[in-house]
Amino acid sequence: MPATVTTQLVEAPAEAAVRGSGVLRTALRSRRLIAGLCIVGFFVLLGVVGPLFFGNPNLVGTVQHAGPSAAHWFGTTDIGQDVFAQTVVGARATLEIGAAAGLIATVVSVVIGIGGGYAGGWVDEALALLSNVALVIPTLPLVIVVAAFVKNTGLLPTVFVIALTSWAASARVLRGQTLSIRNRDYVLASKALGEPVWRIVLVEIMPNELPIIVSQYLFAMIFAILAQAGLAFLGLQSPDLLTWGNTLYFAQNAQALSSGDWWWFAPPGLCIALLGAGLALINFGLDELLNPRLRVYREPRARRAARADGTETGQ
């Protein structure tokens, strides 16, 4: 069985490294993780420090519809606002919404997924049904309709509305994991020893699902940033809130597209994509680190060339 062979002979060193002082070294070997951390770190820095360098990014200027230049790196809008300033300042609210909505969604999914999975019985059945239904009911239309009905589109409502529509998939995954962990020997042993429920859940079960929770959080954050951009683009967000999505909304409204002001709508979208990709890369990197089966062995180029005709496995 090759899995066994690999487990015994290849993973063993990797595992030892993870446990020992080599955690960092192993992590640093994952190029994806590094790239992801760099990208996300860059944007976080931008969101924290960036706004300090710009006064009011919505300040109207005299130079309108100007392409990128030394004075305006990303050009200006139809009323002379500096797109670069807007992009930098917009990073903060975008990240805040993403991080907060992701966090709430993750907490909800942990409570419902792990709670239900551990409780079992009808509580579990009911919560599982709830997650499954929440999963198949199309969320963004619901969010749009709710947002339109509520007409309150500040930071907090946006965060909650997004969070409450994106916890279900993750809850389902966590429930499945909990169901399998619940009956493992060490959990049963703790139960037999009379450990309190909260301790079993927090100490015995949660740590084992931490990698999944982290990964789900990163995905929830990506979803929140995309959903927020979509809502803003539809004009369902307070225009006072400067996010990348809102910048796109104003660009679209001013017909930046047909007037050829590509510098207006390109940066915010690209930033969203880059940030999302950064978060996804961290996720893939962690996945590779924690799930050795996904680790792909790359042969040194020289050796690959040397036996280009007949391969070891006959593929």
Binding site: M1, P2, A3, T4, V5, Q8, L9, V10, A12, P13, Y297, E299, D309, G310, T311, E312, T313, G314
Partner: protein
């Protein structure tokens, strides 16, 4: 531990005596990495036609890796770094396995050497029927067979291992563990190969089913005359079914001998340790012993005998000189200074 109906009668029935079917010389396998793991170290073994060669050792000793090397099934990062594996056909053809590639390698596989994997559940594709998976073998290797012939043959194979041919339509999850392993064995015999490599074929089964499967293998082997490389960590089981066996430790063969001799007078202290770690049902009651300690890290360069830190008979040369695999006068190959004439003074003390 050897049943009275043991090895001698079997040799007579196959009648092919001692000619070779597979020879591995100085095979080394490495798992690439920042510090490569040398999982198999210069192993040389011979498989005779019709015999059962057992390979035994703790998990991680390289026995499975070696089996994969024999069948050219190593995947990166594992790689055979040295050695030769040669196959000798009945009609005198000699095939160097390392030289095979592409279509010729595919043609060789399963036709000459087939494999039975440890977990039958995992070795069968869960989403297609048993029949369709057997069909794939014939379609690939016997393009001349038509559909009816392929199905007939598949049914025949199932019957041969004691399964109702109607089961061809079943999916793996619909069969019991024992039945699945029988199906896997039937598949291994589909093309009537010369060699079947069995990698812990009964480890995942309960004792009764294990017994049934072993009897089945015995019967089929007597009937069809193929050779078996049988890999397991269960020395008791190997003593019973194999003609000769190789004890592996830390990627090396440390003892290589006829099964009955290993059972009665094992030479290597490690073999003795293995023998003591299971109860002898017929013998006297005695204390059971494990072997204390752990195998060495195969990423390190090994100095001296790799077993020395765990050996109860360790003496001076063991820590510095790696003992070669060498047969003492009148004995069989063993890698231990105790049996090296150069250290004769000690060997009498260290013996049993």
């Amino acid at each position: 531990m050897i049943p009275s109906t043991g090895t001698e009668t079997r040799d007579d029935s196959s009648g092919l005596g001692t000619d070779l079917v597979l020879r591995a010389s100085n095979v080394s396998v490495e798992y690439a990495g920042s510090r490569p793991t040398r999982a198999v170290r210069e192993v040389s073994l011979e498989l005779r036609r019709g015999e059962v060669l057992g390979i035994v050792g703790e998990s991680g000793c390289g026995k499975s890796t070696f089996a994969y090397a024999l069948t050219r099934m190593l995947r990166p990062p594992a790689r055979m770094t040295a050695g030769v594996v040669e196959y000798y056909g009945r009609d005198g053809e000699v095939i160097d396995l390392a030289a095979l590639s592409g279509d010729r390698l595919r043609e060789f596989r399963w036709n000459k050497i087939s494999m039975v994997f440890q977990s039958a559940m995992n070795a069968l594709n869960p989403v297609t029927g048993i029949g369709s998976q057997m069909d794939d073998i014939f379609r690939t290797h016997r393009p001349g067979m038509d559909k009816a012939a392929r199905r007939a043959r598949a049914g025949q194979l199932l019957e041969m291992v004691g399964i109702d041919p109607r089961r061809l339509r079943s999916f793996p999850h619909e069969l019991s563990g024992g039945m699945r392993q029988r199906v896997v064995i039937a598949m291994a015999l589909a093309l009537e190969p010369e060699i079947v490599v069995m990698d812990e074929p009964t480890t995942a089964l309960d004792v009764l089913v294990q017994r049934e499967i072993l009897d089945e293998v015995e019967r089929l082997r007597a009937e069809l005359g193929f050779s078996v490389v049988f890999i397991t960590h269960d020395l008791a089981l190997l003593l019973e079914i194999s003609d000769r066996l190789a004890v592996m430790y830390a990627g090396q063969v440390v003892e290589y001998a006829p099964a009955e001799q290993v059972a009665t007078e094992p030479l290597h202290p490690y073999t003795r340790g293995l023998l003591r770690s299971f109860p002898d049902l017929r013998g006297q009651r005695r204390e059971m012993h494990g072997i204390p300690g752990n195998p060495p890290d195969l990423r390190e360069a090994l100095v001296g005998c790799p077993f020395a830190p765990r050996c109860e008979s360790v003496f001076e040369p063991c820590r510095e000189i790696t003992p070669p695999l060498r047969a003492p006068a009148g004995g069989w190959p063993v890698a231990c200074h105790l049996h090296d004439p150069a250290h004769d003074d000690y060997s009498s003390e260290g013996g049993r």
